[in-house]
Subunit: 387 residues, 2 copies
């Protein structure tokens, strides 16, 4: 179960001196031959150097690439021209070691923003990554571990499709909101697909997974999801591939929610009965972004009044008189007032790791959901200083 599960890919991870102290901080994913690829990137208007460079490389190669280099510990964001030069130098070092063109190498970086990238420390190690590539499960796991920052476990996925396989890895911790997160994900498949087929499937998969995940409303400078397709399994049913890719991305997004900085709860907020799917999504996002709701979740308190107050200010069609709120399937409010219910059942649900809040607006057929977390001391402790 790793990025190497699909045929045609090797990977590795190593400590190259970005984080220091011998900690894993660089991963390399390489295809046996140049392969078709598509990617989606952060919408942040101050994209990091690796995002700028990877976009350029994908455009130059028209979506045919050989490798993805990922580093952790320094985001190489808000680092200006020196940062862009460092990014170029890193991809050139990988290209030299793989005997390919430098624009066949994509780059993902994650870590602190605004700190010059330590190129001198990292360059030798990055150039040497190719020598330890392998296609075993442990090689893939090493890569997944090397991209972790404040993650507490490596995030990997394998989905077996009809005649093809998708493997993937991701990192994500805080700064999680639409248009992705401080999250990087690379997925590989042996299916044969054109770059535009991959892109279409990826856009759909991201919408229902990473872009439906809200931890703290922050859209990072570095978010990137890349899919590589080696084609060794031949042509596949496109719809079946799209479904499988969406499943893989949802699994990685759920891992991110469970492992979000300081989170004690992973929470699915579902809005139904909305005027449109878009309004359902917008309502769920408003509730998910509520600090008060997040605090209640941390305290395992089914304080539905806050949920009502948030959904009623989500700037969507909403009438309290037809509105129902349930926790884990137990209705606690209808028509804007409390409903008698089995409090022990709700208390037991609130004590679980996964919590579900269901809001039915009772107006239309629109449905949408958002994955989020609670807010506890741990998040603050993790983020109050960079030291």
């Amino acid at each position: 179960m790793s990025i190497c599960t699909a045929r045609g890919f090797k990977a590795t991870g190593a400590a190259v001196g970005i984080k220091g102290g011998g900690r894993l901080d660089a991963a390399l994913v390489v295809s046996d031959h140049p392969v078709n690829c598509a990617a989606v990137f952060t919408q942040n208007k101050a994209p990091a150097a690796p995002v700028q460079l990877s976009k350029q490389h994908l455009s130059e190669t028209q979506g045919v690439v050989k490798a993805v280099l990922l580093t952790s510990g320094n985001a190489n964001a808000a680092t200006g021209e020196p940062g862009l030069n460092a990014a170029r130098t890193l991809t050139e070092a990988v290209a030299t070691s793989l005997s390919c063109a430098s624009d066949e190498v994509l780059l993902c970086q994650t870590g602190l923003i605004g700190i010059p990238f330590p190129l001198d420390s990292a360059l030798d190690g990055v150039g040497g990554l190719a020598s330890s590539l392998g296609s075993s499960e442990s090689d893939g796991e090493l890569a997944a571990k090397a991209i972790m920052t404040t993650d507490t476990f490596a995030k990997q996925v394998v989905i077996e499709g009809d005649g093809f396989v998708i493997g993937g890895m991701a990192k994500g911790a805080a700064m999680l909101e639409p248009d992705m997160a401080t999250m990087l994900a690379v997925l590989s498949t042996d299916a044969e697909l054109t770059p535009s087929e991959i892109k279409n499937a990826l856009v759909g998969a991201v919408a229902s997974s990473f872009n439906s995940l809200v931890v703290d409303g922050a859209t990072s400078t570095n978010d990137t999801v890349i899919v590589l397709a080696s084609g060794t399994a031949g042509r596949v049913d496109l719809e079946s591939f799209e479904d499988a890719l969406a499943k893989a991305c949802v699994k990685l997004a759920e891992d991110m929610a469970v492992d979000a900085e300081g989170a004690t709860k992973a929470v699915r907020i579902t809005v139904s009965g909305a005027a449109t799917d878009e309004e359902a999504h917008q309502g769920a996002r408003k509730v998910a972004n509520s600090l008060l709701v997040k605090c209640s979740l941390n305290g395992e308190d089914p304080y539905w009044g806050r949920v009502l107050s948030e959904i009623a200010t989500a700037k969507i069609a909403c009438d309290p008189s037809s509105l129902s709120i349930s926790y884990g399937g137990t209705q606690v409010s209808f028509g804007g007032v409390a409903v008698a219910h089995d409090e022990a059942t709700v208390a037991a649900h609130m004590a679980e790791r996964w919590i579900s809040i269901e809001i039915d607006l009772g107006l239309g057929t629109g449905v949408g959901s958002i994955l989020t977390t609670d807010l506890g001391h741990g998040y603050i402790d993790e983020n109050r200083t960079t030291s």
Copy 2:
């Protein structure tokens, strides 16, 4: 310095049995004669019973009222028809005690949502408030204290205008974001103004004060700001009144920021050089709503990379190459990269109670600012459970 400073008003506060334990929980502000009035209310689509009733009363009386009753401890929100009946009964009790019509009494309530209002406990006490009305400073202070919930100090203001006075009181703690907060404010003046003149001045004052305050992005069910004008000072210059009212509201909003639940910092985020004032405001709001920025402020860490990342995802015109970020007047970033600066000066500023973050987009002449707070353990502890 109180709601009684302007001539023509009396006030009082008392414990009427909503909170229990003899704690102050009801205030009454009464004008000597029916006076012109205007108010703004929450935009929440699930407004509390007192908001629904006060809107109805203002409409029935065309803005001429005699008294405002304020209670704390129970928001009387999401309480359905029984809640609305309780609200009516409270205003009728006050009307009887003052020998006025019940629609000449406005009602503001604050506290927990979704819990039936304890009318039986409170009714006698509310009916008896009129007997202790007075116009001294201590009477006004008693009223200001009686509307506190998790506030740690009473919030009052007096502004001396050219030939008139404005006095006011407010409460606010968490749930602070545009379209006001879990905040109630009543202001009184001796200026002679029509209801529509008061409304115009109030809308402007609220925009630059309460609606420019963001603590946690929550818009409560109960937000209300009321201005009463006794007219005893005669006609005044309208522009001068508008300025004075804005000053009074800004002072009360600043008190709310300083006293926000669990906050250790009050923070002014100013965006200049934006394409328009609206975009400047939107950018400042995006930064103010960032949990990561708020955590950094709690840790006194001038982590400008997060500010950059937020402003660059605010969906406004923004180009990192012309963007400057300063803390307390010291520039720390320009053009999307770090700028050498006196770190001791910035550290000293970060250690203060009031912090200023200045973002110059370098694009146009648009300016806007938002008042906010840091995010610390205290906020979570205050809000994780209702018990």
